[in-house]
């Protein structure tokens, strides 16, 4: 048995650990083992790679069998730099900043795929050997990897608020994008079918980077979870394609798994918003904020504002409370004070549940992670389907920094951009207390008639401070 056969078996074992890991992610109790298993599998694949045979010697040895000092040194340095920065940033990042962190790491993965493709193609060009499959897959992995890289960087910038989180649109945008997209297709066909020119390949690299940017620019805040998930899927597919060139099962299976799972998550989220994927990507949702708000709804009602003390009295006479967290809770880092409040309510024998909308926050399951950080037992977290019938029997629905996902207009107002999106029925609770910074509309730019309902009161201010005050006031009641 040749050494490379043994290494192939190692790659296969890695692929199996990836599949098992994803299976273990089915439950909170086994998920962590799953992640560690995948990490172990990854380590195995990386170690095995060092022993790949290239002719008589391993790829780390030169023709005489001596170690390639420069290459090994660079690899060691890359591991040191990447390992230290990666570990440090992963440990330091706030749980609220998780979406942009995932976007960043995802983009880097896409960048790695693209750069590997560049060197592969360059080698084809230098040797003059262009076999159809390696050629085609290297071109495609370059394009998808680059789009994933630059798209993720824009997503990161938007989420980190280095630039506006709203959709960026301009006249003729669709035409420009169409031209860019078509040129990319033409270049791909040209490169694979006609001229295998390296400069042209680099041109395609640049074009794909631009495509990634223009792809994410028109997509706005509340749609970010969908984009991040989609870009994750892209990188997975690109990595899988890179596996075609290298004939590597770990890449093929790992990439395929991620590509498919990312796509499923993406579609699930679109479904949760009752929108199609193409509407999310091309819809420039919420870009017409002021006009839509003015035109769609005209409210005559008044908004009632409560002080923390008033709100505390409402809570003190409640039997059941449902807390609805949204992005505002994440921004204000309010998850810990929310948990404190819930503890105080529980101490008074008040039943507390949390209702998590599928697209609350900036990434799927974002709220669950934040609440888990604050030590909220996951048994108290409920999905939309599980909890919606409970609102009618609940005394207080406490909405913290959520907006569009509790907007009743989604049920009936065909003019509303969020019409048809399944929402949390907080308006059916006896009292709705909405904790919100101001009356500004949410990310989708739509005014929320919930705030004008007679059973709704507002608790204006930063979520963390408001909830802390409420919690303190509850002691006095």
């Amino acid at each position: 048995m040749r050494i490379n056969d043994i290494i192939d078996i190692a790659y296969l074992i890695t692929a199996v650990t990836f599949m098992l890991a994803m299976k273990l992610m089915n439950g909170p109790k086994t998920a962590r083992q799953g992640n560690l298993l995948a990490a172990a599998g990854m380590t195995l694949a990386l170690v095995a790679t060092f022993f790949l045979q290239n002719g008589e010697h391993t790829i780390m040895q030169d023709h005489q069998g001596g170690l390639k000092v420069i290459n090994l040194g660079l690899i060691a340095l890359a591991f040191l730099v990447g390992g230290v920065i990666g570990t440090w940033s992963a440990r330091k990042v706030q749980m609220t900043a998780m979406p942009q962190m995932v976007a960043l790491f995802n983009g880097l993965g896409g960048g790695a795929v693209a750069l590997v493709a560049v060197l592969e193609f360059r080698e084809f060009a230098q040797t003059g050997i262009f076999e159809p499959v390696p050629l085609g897959t290297s071109v495609l992995s370059l394009v998808i990897g680059s789009i994933s890289f630059s798209g993720s960087m824009i997503a990161f910038a938007k989420l980190q608020e280095l630039m506006t989180g709203r959709p960026i649109t301009y006249p003729g945008q669709k035409f420009v994008n169409f031209v860019l997209f078509t040129s990319a297709i033409v270049l791909i066909v040209f490169l694979i079918g006609f001229t295998h020119s390296f400069p042209l390949f680099l041109g395609l690299f640049a074009l794909a980077l631009v495509l990634g940017v223009v792809f994410v620019l028109p997509i706005g805040g509340a749609d970010m979870p969908v984009v991040i998930s989609l870009l994750n899927s892209f990188t997975g597919c690109a990595a899988g394609l890179a596996g075609f060139v290298l004939g590597n099962t770990a890449l093929l299976i790992g990439g395929g798994l991620v590509g498919a799972s990312g796509l499923i998550l993406t579609l699930q989220m679109c479904k949760a918003m009752n929108r199609t994927l193409s509407n999310v990507i091309f819809g420039a949702f919420g870009s017409v904020d002021t006009t839509a708000a003015a035109g769609g709804t005209a409210h005559q009602g008044t908004v009632r504002s409560f002080s923390a003390e008033d709100a505390a009295i409402v809570f003190s006479s409640a039997n059941s409370v449902i807390i609805v967290p949204g992005y505002g809770m994440a921004v204000a880092q309010a998850q810990h004070v929310v948990k404190e409040l819930a503890n105080k309510l529980a101490a008074r024998d008040i039943d507390v549940k949390y209702a998590v909308h599928p697209v609350a926050g900036r990434m799927p399951g974002h709220m669950n992670v934040l609440l888990a950080e604050a030590d909220v037992p996951y048994e108290q977290l409920y999905d939309l389907d599980e909890i919606n019938s409970a609102f009618a029997e609940c005394d207080v629905a406490l909405v913290i920094g959520a907006n569009d996902v509790v907007n009743p207009a989604a049920r009936y107002d065909k003019a509303s951009p969020i019409y048809g999106m399944p929402i949390l029925d907080v308006d059916k609770a006896r009292t709705v207390i909405v904790c919100k910074r101001s009356m500004n509309p949410g990310f989708a730019g739509i005014e929320n008639e919930l705030f004008f309902l007679p059973n709704c009161v507002m608790l204006f201010g930063n979520a963390k401070q408001s909830i802390a005050k409420l919690s303190a006031a509850l002691e006095e009641v």
Binding site: N35, A39, I59, G255, S261, P364, G365, D375
Partner: protein, 104 residues
């Protein structure tokens, strides 16, 4: 490996992905995404390979960058996922631990 074998593996892997993901609860979607994010960092294998066979400055430079990106993706991805899942693993309150979901 023959082309058809490679395509077969890729497509089957995608179906496995569809199957295993469909069962993951919403609660774990963020860690799941983060873990799959780390998994596609397996392209680092490719990064190591191209850097190992590089012979001149451009190859060294691009290969080095690819490897750094790959390491960041893998290490950052797994560490961040582990941090999140550690929080989920904390033991639930004794009362909640025995009660079935929604049963009060």
């Amino acid at each position: 490996m023959s082309l058809i074998a490679v395509i077969t593996i890729f497509i089957l892997a995608m179906f496995v992905g569809l199957e295993v993901i469909a069962k993951v609860p919403q609660t774990l979607h963020t860690p799941l995404m983060s873990a799959t994010n780390a998994i596609h960092g397996v392209v680092l294998v490719g990064g190591i390979y191209v850097l190992a066979v590089a012979t001149e400055p451009i190859g060294y430079g691009v290969g080095f960058l690819a490897t750094v990106f790959g390491v960041l993706n893998v290490v950052g991805g797994f560490v961040v996922t582990d941090r999140m899942l550690e929080m989920f693993k904390r033991k639930p309150k004794p009362a909640a631990a025995t009660a079935p979901k929604g049963g009060e």
